[in-house]
């Protein structure tokens, strides 16, 4: 473990808000710090203090630690240092930054999930403002967005981000790696207020159960309560066949998403904008999700500069029965929300249904109808949900009922 130089983090032009840390354990000589920071005038002292505190925390007395800092926040620097330490000494210790109180809100199973913004799990610059664009969910992505050799350090960065970054009410999601590596991801992230875990390339019920078993064990170990929801992602022909089995595998599966890049590769076809090749998968998924009573979520739209294309895709998705889509760029969120939002005529119809139902209920009537059409309880439930959404999207005021009602 001595005289071996290890490093973590990123440096260079695109490493804004990140840092590169290298560490070597020494046999004698105390702690030698070298800090080269873009914000050294304002934060140099603070960074040095953090470095010393962390090395002390891990019981390191003799080491050479170099930080090349491009304006990283403390929780980023801490994740990078810990990633170095763990490469050199076996330890069960963790250095956890404060879990900010703003992050202790809950989610719910039928939460609105129109948009969920993917943020690469090893890119601190994109994390810090992740919550300001109003996405319904924020996904810290440990899977495809992280290079294989960066998986271990990304896990620590995502953990610290979950504790420190305020996502302003968005559902807090993590996409773990494919199993079995994904199970190790769970160990690191589950204790830190994760609302929902995305499970990539899901093909069976067993995978869901395996993930749930691990989550349960972690929760027992840390004496945690509360449901962690799952959103399996189906990305293969077999996955589509097994969609219902997956969607109904466990109570905490609240949505199933489609990943079309891999699905098309599996089919051996090219993914097109028109999407004829994936129509079956989309419909099959929506049908399975409806049967299981969970949300169906569409695949991401990859050209983030093509707003018109995105809007068309979302309108199609909505018409097929999808209730959300992944976003790879913040500029996609607004068009996605606008396209998924209920239309004026839908809102008007829902208002009418709810009002008629409430009147009938007040009058003690069992059967409700508008004109010659009977209104079933599921229709009412759907109308109530639509109105809730319209309110939360700012399309309807809270007090939408006519005066005097």
């Amino acid at each position: 473990m001595y005289n071996k130089l290890v490093s973590a983090g990123n440096t260079g032009k695109n490493a804004g808000s990140d840092c590169h840390v290298s560490l070597e354990l020494l046999e004698t000589g105390g702690i030698q710090l070298s800090i080269d920071s873009k914000v050294g005038t304002l934060y140099g002292g603070r960074i040095a203090a953090l470095c010393r505190e962390m090395l002390g925390h891990f019981g390191i007395e003799n080491a050479s630690l170099a930080v090349e800092d491009s304006g990283a926040f403390d929780f980023v620097i801490a994740a990078r240092i810990e990633a170095c330490v763990r490469q050199l000494i076996p330890t069960d210790k963790r250095y956890l930054p404060e879990l900010i109180p703003q992050n202790s809100y809950a989610s719910k199973a039928d939460k609105m999930r129109f948009s969920r913004l993917y943020i690469p799990g090893n890119s601190p610059k994109m994390m810090i403002n992740g919550g300001i664009y109003g996405a319904h969910g924020i996904i810290l992505d440990l899977e495809d967005a992280v290079a294989p050799q960066k998986k271990d350090e990304a896990r620590l960065l995502v953990r610290n981000a979950l504790r420190q970054i305020d996502f302003y009410g968005a559902e807090r999601m993590v996409r773990i790696n494919q199993l079995p590596r994904g199970l190790e991801d769970l160990d690191e992230i589950i204790p830190h207020q994760v609302h929902l875990v995305l499970l990539p390339k899901c093909e069976s019920r067993e995978q869901i159960l395996e993930v749930n078993e691990r989550i349960g064990a972690i929760q027992r170990q840390h004496q945690l309560e509360g449901e962690v929801y799952l959103m399996p992602i189906i990305e293969s022909a077999l996955g589509v066949i097994k969609a219902y089995e997956i969607a109904s595998a466990a109570e905490n599966v609240v949505a199933v998403a489609l990943g079309l890049e891999d699905y098309c590769a599996d089919l051996g076809v090219r993914r097109t904008v028109a999407g004829a090749e994936s129509l079956y998968a989309k419909s099959a998924l929506v049908n399975a999700c409806r049967a299981a009573g969970v949300q169906a979520i569409d695949s991401v739209f990859s050209d983030f500069q093509d707003e018109e294309g995105l809007r068309e895709t979302v309108l199609l998705a909505k018409s097929l029965g999808f209730e959300g889509i992944g976003c790879i760029h913040p500029n996609q969120i607004k068009p996605v929300h606008e396209s998924f939002a209920p239309l004026e005529e839908e809102i008007e119809k829902a208002k009418k249904i709810v009002l008629v139902f409430e009147q009938a209920e007040a009058a003690g009537l069992g059967v409700v109808s508008i004109g010659s059409k009977m209104i079933d309880p599921p229709v009412v439930k759907r109308a109530v949900q639509l109105i809730d959404r319209a309110i939360s999207l700012g399309k309807l005021p809270q007090n939408w009922r006519p005066e005097g009602e």
Partner: protein, 514 residues
Amino acid sequence: MVKNAVGRVVPTTVNNVAAEPYKGVGKHRPRGRKYSTPISSCADYPSDGNKLVPSLKEALIRSGLRDGITISTHHHFRDGDLIANQIFEIAAELGIKGLVWAPSASFPCHKPIIQHLENGVVHHIEGSMNGALGRYCSEGKMAGLGVLRSHGGRYQAIQDGELHIDIAVIAAPAADAFGNANALYGDAACGSLGFALADSEYADKVIVVTDNLRPFPCVPWQIQGNYVDYTVVVDKVGIPEKIISGTTQITRSPDRLLLAEMTARFCEQAGLIRQGFSFQAGAGGTSLAIGIYFAEILKKKGFKSGFARGGSNKYLVEMLEQDLTDYILDGQTFDLEGVRSLRENIQHVMTSPFTSYNYHGKGNFASMVDIAILGATEIDLNYNGNVVTHSDGYLLHGIGGWQNCLFAKCVILPIPLFRGRVPVIKDQVTTICGPGELIDVIVTERGIAINPLRQDLLDAVKHSSLPLRTIEELKAEADRICGTPDPLNLGDEVVAAVKWVDGTVIDAVRRVIA
């Protein structure tokens, strides 16, 4: 040194000229008369109107180039200026020392001036110092004090005789031999020459340099030949690609788009966007995006703006041509669409720092604008703003029209809560460039703060869905995210003075300990 009305300790002489400390908005009322130039006689000028001399060098010599004088240039060519550097090369070649350069702004292309500051050809700069020049001045390497003025403050200082210009060199995209000049034609066409107006009116000697000599009369004559001593023809006055500003594309940055959208929403919900309203148009990516949002709101509501004042570009021209605004009052033109429109459209009007910004005039346009959207490097809890230094103390930007635009009816600053790791809201700004009483609204990605002095605005948006916060709450959030920075350790030595619009000293820039 004396403490001024915003509590800053400032020098009472700047480069051996007495300077008044800042006293408050509208408090300094100078008496006396404006500066006037010596009387000229037509007997001393060619009656055929041909003032051409063979070279810039000869024109400078004939204008009395000598040690210690002040030479001015304008910045309409932005980073494509080819003339300012030549002036000081000529001076160096002639062994001249101790000059003062008084540009209306400097750009990265003026980095070679550093070598003339090093070798004593230039003593100091009175004007904005950006990039390398700002760094040089900040580290205390300049022989004299830097003097930073707003565009309007520069006009005021020249008019009041506080900044005396011995020789003004006015590079012009089009001129005749008499000296009439404009910027509407030629390879270097940049729209307006307004920043050179004061120089033409008040300098002892005026040289017009052009690469596009036109037969008399060169019209319109934004610069009048009757002020001009010599005209010079050169191969090239500017580099066209660099004259077009780099910031004429609408931002694609999601953070900036969010700020732009929130700003437009604020204006709409506060009822500021009305039939006939006017706004300050800027060149930055965020300002451009706000302009687009304004246009959308105007279309949606069937309103039309009375006038847009400031920098023009293709987006503003589109608004004019789509009849979404009645007039563009153009201070500087940022692209060729702006130049074309200035040439063709009588409702696209050239302005100058005299008409728009000069505080020592009988009114100006800036205070008649309804909404001004500006930037800042820092803001403090009293809403005082800084635009010239960064939080590490380095002088990196000019004031531009910022101070002058603060007099608009509603001043809004869309700014990120932090840049990189550096918070923008401070207990005290590093340098005060504008008093908080003139700054009304801060729009950040994490909330909007309204100056408590603007109860009317607070009332107007009380029931809106806008994310309203106090400035203290915003600062606390930024400090939580970034960590509280160490206090900045600056030297005592003053390296530059920041003037207010009335010529008083609002703050002094201290040396950075490098």
